[in-house]
């Protein structure tokens, strides 16, 4: 049985619905949060979500939900 990488490597999991909602799991730190940009870092990478009207609907230790008009998603690998 193959175990998914978000469990073995603690990789971040990002799910996007349309261009209005995004769910993020396995993140570690909220780096930046403004109306236009949300930057979140995980163990080995960073995700930057840009748009406007960005709002964090909830932010917990397991997952967070972002709402707004998403225009761009950028990944940056630390390795």
């Amino acid at each position: 049985m193959q175990i998914s990488r978000d469990v073995t490597e603690e990789a971040m999991v990002l799910r996007v619905i349309g261009a209005e909602e995004a769910w993020l799991e396995n993140y570690q730190t909220l780096m930046e949060y403004t109306d236009e940009r949300i930057r979140v870092s995980g163990k080995y990478s960073e995700i930057q979500i840009e748009g406007y009207g960005m709002r964090i609907e909830y932010y917990g230790n397991i997952d967070m939900k972002i709402q707004g008009v998403i225009r761009k998603i950028q990944f940056e690998d630390y390795s």
């Binding site: 730190t29 909220l30 949060y33 609907e57």
Partner: protein, 399 residues
């Protein structure tokens, strides 16, 4: 349910500001403190969190070098604190909530939809009198059993579904389609006999021995198709006698006598425009009418509008009010002219013909005359129809 739980525990809107408010949020995340509706505000962030976790923020605040400010407080703990000097109000509110919950455990309304042959009220009355009384506990209602009982008591029902929503019992009914006939599956030996007098015009025998043929006149009780079958040998002697369930369609020409009359004089209501109102309150079986002490009209129409009280869409309360409207009229005597009377007589005759057509008869001819005698309009005549006249009569042992 989650929102109710959060409200019961109490929650706050907090404003965090300082050098690194993002770090503050991240540290909250590591402490497993859930926050929601986070939004940037001035130099920091606004967010909502549970009131019970607020004390844990002090250590995080110092670590992140931020300032905290409570902007709003919501929930039961704060509401009770606000009304701490009004204990009876709080008690009353709690009792009210308890009563609402307790009331939701019972059935207070029966709703019937989809009837055609039967009326909604007919089915609802049967249910309330025999199966599910208003005010009974929801746990005592067996919907499956009720569905079977309704199918048994009301034979025209083809499909029925019972469902409890809130405090309402909803009954959805589909009746048998018009024009469908019950298929005879009973194999009991029988004859097909005439239910009325007539002249045979068409005959199809599916089983049994035909006794009559087209053109013959039959009277009520005559055997049309016999269920006795004789098997003959080569010498035309009866070899064997068998008894079967005779089956077939026998159509005969029959005559319906039509007779109708009505008075040439009639009363018409001339409404004066005056209206009185009264209100009736109903709580379970208790009724109380409230009315202003006006003199009642001599002649009036009474229109009642009943309104059941509800919380939301499905929580029907065991109380209702009825607005009674009394519209005064003066009865004035009028007389039909001959032409008006003829038109009315024709209309009534057409209604009769329509009702007859619904019984699956074919109308061939009608002869009616309209006459005026002693201030009365009289309509008499005959209607010639073709219809099925056979019905099954079980064979006796002697036969």
């Amino acid at each position: 349910m989650g929102r109710i739980r959060t409200w019961l525990k109490g929650y706050l809107q907090v404003y965090v500001s300082g050098n690194r408010p993002e770090r503050f949020l991240s540290l909250m995340k590591h402490k497993e403190i859930l926050v929601w509706e986070v939004e940037p505000y001035e130099n920091g962030y606004l967010f909502f969190m549970e009131q019970s976790k607020f004390r844990e923020l002090d250590a995080i605040r110092k670590k992140a070098g931020c300032k905290l400010e409570i902007r709003q407080k919501h929930g039961l703990p704060f509401w009770m604190f606000r009304y701490r000097k009004r204990k009876l109000l709080v008690l009353g509110a709690l009792i009210g909530c308890g009563l609402v919950y307790w009331g939701s455990l019972f059935i207070w309304d029966v709703n019937v939809h989809g009837t055609y042959f039967y009326t909604d009220a007919q089915v609802a009355d049967y249910i309330e009198q025999n199966a599910v009384q208003l005010g009974c506990r929801k746990a005592e209602v067996d919907c499956h059993q009720l569905e079977e009982e309704l199918r048994e008591v009301f034979p025209e029902i083809a499909w029925v579904s019972c469902e409890i929503k809130g405090t309402q019992l909803n009954v959805e009914i589909k009746e048998t389609l018009e024009g469908t006939e019950t298929i005879q599956t009973d194999a009991t030996p029988q004859d097909i006999v005439a239910a009325k007098d007539g002249v045979i015009v068409e005959m199809i025998t599916r089983n049994g021995t035909p006794v009559v043929k087209n053109g013959m006149t039959v009277v009520r009780g005559d055997t049309l198709i016999s269920g006795v079958i004789h098997i003959y040998d080569d010498y035309d002697e009866v070899l064997e006698t068998d008894m079967v369930a005779a089956d077939g369609d026998v159509i005969a020409e029959t005559v319906y006598q039509y007779s109708d009359s009505f008075d040439m004089q009639y009363y018409e209501k001339d409404y004066t425009g005056k209206t009185q109102y009264s209100l009736t309150l109903e709580l379970g079986s208790f009724l109380q009418e409230f009315r202003l002490p006006f003199k009642a009209y001599d002649y009036y129409d009474q229109i009642e509008e009943n309104h059941k009280l509800k919380l939301g869409h499905t929580y029907v309360l065991p109380c209702s009010f009825t607005v009674n409207r009394y519209q005064e009229y003066i009865p004035t005597l009028h007389t039909y002219t001959e032409e008006e009377a003829r038109n009315r007589a024709q209309e009534r005759f057409q209604n009769y013909i329509s009702n007859l057509s619904e019984k699956k008869v074919e109308i061939m001819e009608n002869n009616v005359t309209i006459d005026f005698r002693d201030n009365t309009c009289v309509t008499v005549g005959t209607v010639v129809v073709w219809e099925r006249i056979g019905y099954g009569r079980p064979l006796t042992a002697q036969e």
